[in-house]
Symmetry: C2
């Protein structure tokens, strides 16, 4: 509860403030201008801008520029492979004070309990009721993402009606299944109708949608979109009322195209997000500070860029008292060296210093409830479970290339046939398996990959969008079976089997995230990745990261799930063998 009396008394200089930040220029999101003045803080809020304030604490900004705390409009925290606490530490060190988090990954594994875990993990970072990071949690709308895979939970229309009404959920997570919206399918409509009636924001995800389809999608209530391919697409989406989310994630690279669509009139409808950003990128490149640098480098004026990462996000999501450094607003502030490089020197949340010189000042308290542990449930498998029955010697392969690691192409390849099974010897192809890991059903989808260039064993990972079954790739059925056994043992993570032996890096939290500190995750995941790369992986292809997307049956063209090969364009299961 805000203490308005204290705030007013401090603003009137009748009382000493809790904190005065001196020796800074303050960037004003309402005017686009910067003014040299002190920032007075009391009761967690900015109470004044000016001079002559007395504070219980005084912070010397050393000539830096104060901007509002940065806000990430759409992120899957799980994609960092960091625990919520380690994630909060690194993003706060990079100036973030708020995220709209869609726990799509962990909910696909653990159900709503996964979201509850996220909420509680972040909540436990609070000191005296003040959290270093505001987390607005979306209820994932696509669990599972497609009917062609086995996820750990199913959240249908009825469950959404019930869950979305709960306070822990801020809104409805990205509605990826836009065909079901355009088709006005009943189960999807129940979800959208629930969000509409509860007045909760629904996020969008509709790459390339335009015209009647876009209009219909918007009638479903989606307010934002981060899947924007061209400037024209962005302009149309803005014109039709969407907030366009400018994205700078680890696997996306079209920020400059999105930036082209933004002008002096429409920039209020652009907001910033990272969507998916891995631990290494967060550690080495930063978070939204990295995005701001790139936006400015792409030609967006600094003052617009900052507003896109602050006030605009607050307005889009109707976050009261957020996104500005002004009296009555939460004292969520980042101090940066300038408005070009955005080197974050300090971060304040509700007036508390949460990070300084690249390091968080709060502890990452360990919280590991049973609900997110031991989530890898697989039958014991042996080499023969990976054999591909084949008569014709022709298979439908997933083609990957350094130019296109995420969008696959379909290719018919010839293989040897031995005792009624495919023999890949000498083909340069690898075998791919997706092993259902939630219910130990023993269900396996099998396929082959062309262009990956791996030999001498197998690798596997328990992060695999969006159902997060085990994805295993190799040139040896026996090594593949051993990788599955390793992942079962570690409760998920990354695993490698080669002539030299076995190697693992565990993701003990839901098979998606590590409970280790950031540095260990970066080093551990980095080491095993390097070792995998050394097993002949084609240059330009990221060994494990490519696997993570090979089962994502909403991205063209051919994917593999535990149900088998999916032709994404026809949106149906197709046979592996071609006659």
């Amino acid at each position: 509860m805000a203490d308005l009396k204290k705030r007013i008394d401090c603003a009137m200089k009748r009382k000493k403030c809790d904190l005065v930040i001196k020796n800074v220029s303050v960037f004003n999101v309402f005017t686009g201008k910067t003014e040299a003045c002190d920032i007075a803080v009391a009761d967690g809020a900015v109470v004044g801008l000016g001079s002559g304030y007395e504070g219980a604490r005084v912070y010397d900004g050393q000539g830096s520029v104060a901007i509002p705390g940065l806000m990430d409009a759409h992120i899957h925290v799980e994609s960092s492979t960091l625990s919520p606490e380690a994630f909060a530490q690194i993003v706060c060190a990079h100036g973030a004070t708020a995220i709209v988090a869609d726990p799509h990954e962990i909910v696909n594994v653990c159900g709503v309990q996964g979201a509850e875990y996220m909420k509680e993990s972040f909540h436990r970072l609070s000191v005296n009721g003040t959290s270093p990071l505001d987390v607005y949690l979306q209820l994932p709308s696509c669990v599972p993402a497609t009917p062609f895979e086995t996820s750990g939970a199913v959240i249908g229309g009825r469950e959404t009606e019930r869950e979305l009404a709960r306070d822990i959920f801020f809104g409805l997570g990205e509605v990826m299944s836009y065909p079901s919206v355009l088709g006005a399918e009943e189960d999807m409509l129940r979800k959208l109708q629930a969000a509409d009636e509860l007045g909760k924001v629904a996020d969008g995800h509709a790459p390339g949608l335009s015209g009647d389809g876009l209009n219909a999608y918007l009638c479903g209530g989606m307010r934002t979109d981060h899947e924007n391919l061209t400037p024209e697409e962005c302009r149309e989406k803005v014109a039709r009322g969407m907030y366009v989310q400018v994205r700078c994630g680890s696997s996306t690279n079209n920020l400059a195209d999105v930036a082209k669509a933004c002008d002096g009139f429409n920039f209020r409808r652009f907001i910033t997000c990272t969507d998916d950003k891995n631990a290494r990128d967060l550690s080495q490149r930063g978070h939204l500070d990295d995005l701001l640098r790139r936006l400015v480098a792409a030609g967006v004026p600094s003052e617009r860029a900052v507003v896109m990462a602050t006030l605009n996000v607050a307005e889009c999501y109707r976050l009261k008292g957020k996104g500005a450094i002004a009296p009555g607003y939460c004292a969520d502030i980042a101090l940066v060296n300038d408005l070009k490089d955005f080197r974050v020197k300090a971060t304040f949340k509700s007036g508390e210093l949460t990070a300084e010189n690249g390091r968080a000042l709060f502890e990452g308290k360990r919280y590991l409830p049973d609900s997110v542990l031991g989530t890898v449930h697989v039958k014991d498998l042996s080499a023969k479970d990976f054999a591909i029955p084949c008569k014709s010697g022709k298979l439908r392969a997933l083609g990957v290339s350094p130019q296109s690691t995420i969008v696959t192409h379909e290719e018919i390849v010839s293989v040897g046939v031995k005792n009624g099974f495919a023999d890949l010897t000498g083909t340069g192809l690898c075998k791919l398996a997706v092993v259902e890991r939630h219910f130990a059903s023993g269900r396996i989808g099998l396929g082959v990959v062309k262009g990956y260039g791996f030999k001498g064993g197998a690798i596997g990972i328990s992060v695999a969008h969006d159902a997060h079954n085990l994805v295993v790739l190799g040139d040896s059925d026996e090594a593949m079976a051993r990788v599955v056994a390793l992942l079962k043992k570690t409760g998920g993570g990354m695993a490698l089997v080669s002539a030299e032996g076995e190697e693992t890096f565990p993701f003990d939290i839901a098979g998606l995230m590590s409970s280790a500190p950031l540095e260990e995750v970066v080093k551990g995941a980095g080491d095993i990745t390097v070792h995998a790369q050394q097993m002949g992986v084609t240059e330009g292809i990221e060994s494990f990261m490519t696997l993570v997307f090979l089962s994502l049956a909403v991205i063209p063209n051919l994917r593999l799930t535990d149900h088998g090969l999916v032709d994404v364009n026809r949106f149906e299961i197709v046979p592996l063998e071609v006659n």
Copy 2:
């Protein structure tokens, strides 16, 4: 409840729309551009912009420009002296589809029942659940406005906590008593704290406030201000996080100064309002269409002006689905001839045609509950009740002039003394009386006015900001007593007594508004005003309108209430007689 299925089906052209508006250019508030296309409407919402839609009804826009329905961010409906139904008819004819209404006047007379009457009156205009005008009702924060007057009700901190939690109240009405905010006075704090905790918007009113005082005021939670005197003041308020309300009312004339503060970066923080607009102005000049014409004439680009009257208002007050013509938004649309003259040709609310060619198409259903009738309760008065005891022959007079009819000046004047009472014969002064009219207490405040120039009887009115006691002016004590009797008989309104006889125009609703149709109000109030002017009123002074403000004890310098003379600058009662 929105029917998302129908909207999506119509957007996809699988179903016939309810309405298609053809032959229009659509102004886009997100891009600032205009595009020629049809507007498809279903289930009260825009479902598509484009072509090829089939509609159960087709409306030919005849080449006009479609803009979102206009939104008035701050208005006291009572100031029109029109019933809510007659008010709705005229503003809808001028393109309005939403108002944020502060029933400050009627609540000062009737208490919360006055607000309930307003809500119900507007609600009864609905046809099939669709109202021609969205009314967001604020709970007045200053009832009474000062401690120096007797109002019909008192709404303190405790009542505010209770009432503000009710659904009928959208937010807290303009907090005029900014000294009590800056002083962190307990009763005011309870009101502000209630608004903050309920997440309801509090409107501001703080003319000339800046620096520490402005910061403190904003810490109290006020989000908007319509009292802005200079461009510099506007810029500071915007910079500190306020929405500046550009005002175009009947008694205000600084729109051009406010417009000067608005630029391409900050214009999103400017919103439009009329505050107080009388029936004649509404009828002859229009409503927000008049404001838009003036904004554009003052040099504000059309596309910014329209956004200020639509999207910006919706964002400021967080009104979901309002302020734009886009899929999923309410089909609240005004058709205008162009973006310079803004002649309104038709208005649609939730897709229903509510007005065309200057006339509303819905009926003004009469609703007159007992709670707002018979509100003038006065003791029977006679001439001797108006006698001013006087020994010194020197009185403190309220000075008015054609240059300054609202801000009065204090002047010590000499008068004759007869039998211990003041005698104004030959002085050119008029006598002024404010008669308490809520509780028949018999309390009268007496004073004299210089510069008004009236002779031959008396005039009086029951509209008198903010307590709405009876204000009577004359050069004859007997005529003044007769005016009070007339106002008692008519239940309030305007009254005149001269050598020719008596004349009245009743405001039967709370003594503030007439239940007659617009034309009758304009003619009736106009006629009696003309007759009053003819009784020697100084040229440039509006006879009744000046009276209305003479008891408003928050505007400098000297005022008269039923408690006596108020020195507004010293904020205390002062004696009439000077020794």
